[in-house]
Structures are given as structure tokens and as C-alpha cells.
Symmetry: C2
Subunit: 219 residues, 2 copies
Amino acid sequence: MQWLRSVFQDELDSVTSTLVELSNLVSDAIEKATHALLTANLEEAESVIAADDRVDTVQHDLDSRIIDIIARQQPVASDLRALITALRMSADLERMGDMAHHVAKITRLRHPQGAVPSELLLTIEEMGKVAKLIADKAGAVISSRDIEKAVELEKDDDEMDKLHRKLFTTLLDDSWSHGTETAIDITLIGRYYERFADHAVSVARRVYFLVTGKFSSEN
Amino acid sequence: MQWLRSVFQDELDSVTSTLVELSNLVSDAIEKATHALLTANLEEAESVIAADDRVDTVQHDLDSRIIDIIARQQPVASDLRALITALRMSADLERMGDMAHHVAKITRLRHPQGAVPSELLLTIEEMGKVAKLIADKAGAVISSRDIEKAVELEKDDDEMDKLHRKLFTTLLDDSWSHGTETAIDITLIGRYYERFADHAVSVARRVYFLVTGKFSSEN
């Protein structure tokens, strides 16, 4: 049994490593998607779009592996809960990859024009930085199960919400002169970054709940 | 064992019933949210917002129940796969509830004004109808495991995509005179209906895969 337990532990560790790998992939993706968006770089946007297949494949393989572990090891209680949570985190991370992909698709759609007017470049650059930070922290929370860092993510997400509101304030200002098409693009871009961050927060909350048995939003 | 198997089957059936219940709740929610949006009906919008708590509670209880069944019954192969799929479908349905909630929140935000300009009322009414139809069909696919109906949902979703594009065509027409705020609202509303339908399609695809072992999008 000792040996079995140890094989099982190795399998759980390998699931955790793959989740961290996914968080690295989507952190890279949002960083590149943001850079491509701000510089109207078609080649970089295409590379983000292509790289999303890799995220999907890694997630798909991971999910099969998790289900296989549950079937073979028949874990109960906290081990089963950890595996189910891993399935949910992998779905969150895959969705973060989709959001980076969506940002890249707007860049491609508007190329050779830039999708972002100059007065919004800084705000979106900032949203990209927060998104990358939050993806990196989600990865760190997955591997360390560090509860304090999990709670930090909620604050980073507040920063994202603030930037998101700033985006709308600029759009709604009387001086807005970029027309409806750009307003639509910016509305969608804002939503993608916001959702990206929401999913990272969701990852952190899931880890928090696994470790403490409480919801972090109850703080 | 015969008896055990039968208890297990009852549990699976009860999971299916709850998924159907969830699909009914979100079908109701999107119908009411659409009606509230088109008629600027604050009371109805509030009722959709309040009802989303019920969706969340039903989903939360269902997920606990599914995990408990896995822990106690230790199913393998197709039974385990069905339970994991049920977890994913419950997440899709919960998210559909969120989308209806988001639509209702825009109604509340703009009240007593209507959020939708008159030339878009019909398109959004149509999106609401397709959304409700697709939620109802998703519920029927869950309970019947009818593969043909599951494939139908993909076509209904094409209809939703067509309506979504029509929305943007109107927004981008030179005659658009409703300003940026309304353009933002309509962009988000369009996205909410599109995502609602996407999650319903995802439910249908999951059932398709469970029954056939193939992805329906490979058709």
C-alpha cells in the first residue's frame, strides 16, 4: 500500500505540474497577445492564435489523465476532491487561453491598422501586465497552495476591474472620436481581459477552498 | 450487486433530472431576461437577477452530490465518464444562468430608459427566442440522449451567430445614431446571447460524445 500510495502521489504531482505548465502557456499567450495588439503585429498575433491549439491539446490530455487516475485509483475524500478541482482548474486555464486567442483575433482583424487608439494604449498595456501577473500568480498558487497569494489575486483582480472601468470612461467621454467600430473592439477587448482575470481568480479560489475548506470570498 | 447497481442507476437518473431542472431554470431566465430587456421592465429584470441564486444553489448541490456518488460508488469507465460529463454540463448550465443575469443587469442599469434602440428590438427578440429554444433542446438532449437533436443544436447556434452578425451590421451602419454607450450595451448583450448559446451547444456536444465516443464537430 505504501508503494501504491506513492505512485498515486506521483500522479497527483504530475497533474499539478501540467496545471502549472498550462498557466505558463496562458501567461505567455496573454503577454504576446497584448504586445501584438498594442503594436499591430500580425505575425505575433498569428503565433498566439496557433499556440492556443497547444493549450487545448495539453488540457485535453490532462483531463483524460485525471479521469484515468480517478478510475484506477478510486480516491475518496480529499484526494478525489483535489482531482475534481484539477479538472475545473484545467477548464479555467483553457478558457484563459481562449481569451488571449480572442484578443489576437481582433489584432488580426484590424491589421494593418491598430485596434487600439493612442489614448487607450497605456490602459490596455496595464491590463495586459495585470493579466500576465495574475496568470503567473495562479500558477504559483497551484504549485505552492499558498493561501495568502491566493487572496492577493483578488486584489489584483480589483486592479483589473479598475482598469476595465477606466476603459469605459474613455469610451464614454465626449471627446471620443474613434467611432463605433473601435468602441465595439475596445468593449470586447476589455471583456476578454476581465474574463481572463476572472478565471485566474477562480483558480486561486479553488485552491483556497481545497486547502481551507472555506470560500475565500467569505473574507 | 444487483441491488447496488440499481441504487447507482437511481442516483444517475437523479443527476440527469437535476441537469434538466437546471436547463429549465436557465431557459426561463433567458426568456424573462429578454422580455425585461425589450420592455425595460425593471421588476422582471430584478426577478431574473434574484433567480440566478437558485441556479447557483442547485448547481452547487448537484456538484456535491456527483462528487459524493463518485466517492461512494467508485464507478469506472462509462459510468465515471457520465458523472464527469454531468459536472461539466452543470458548469455550462450555471454559466448560461450568468448570461441571463448579465442581460438583466443591463436592463436594470439603463432603467427607466430601454437599453435597446427600436431598430434592434426585433433582432434581439429573435436572439432571445433562439436562446430559449436552444436551452430547451439542451435539456431534451440531456434527458433523451437524442443524438440527432444534439446535432440540431449546432444549426440553431448558426442561426444565433447570424443574428449576432446582424447586430454588428446595424451598429456599424452609417445611420447608427445612438452613440457609444448604446453601442457598448449592444456589444455586450450580443456577446451574452452568443455565449449562452455556445454553452448550450457545449452541453449537446458532451452528450454526443458520451453516446457515440466521437466529437459532433467532426461531422
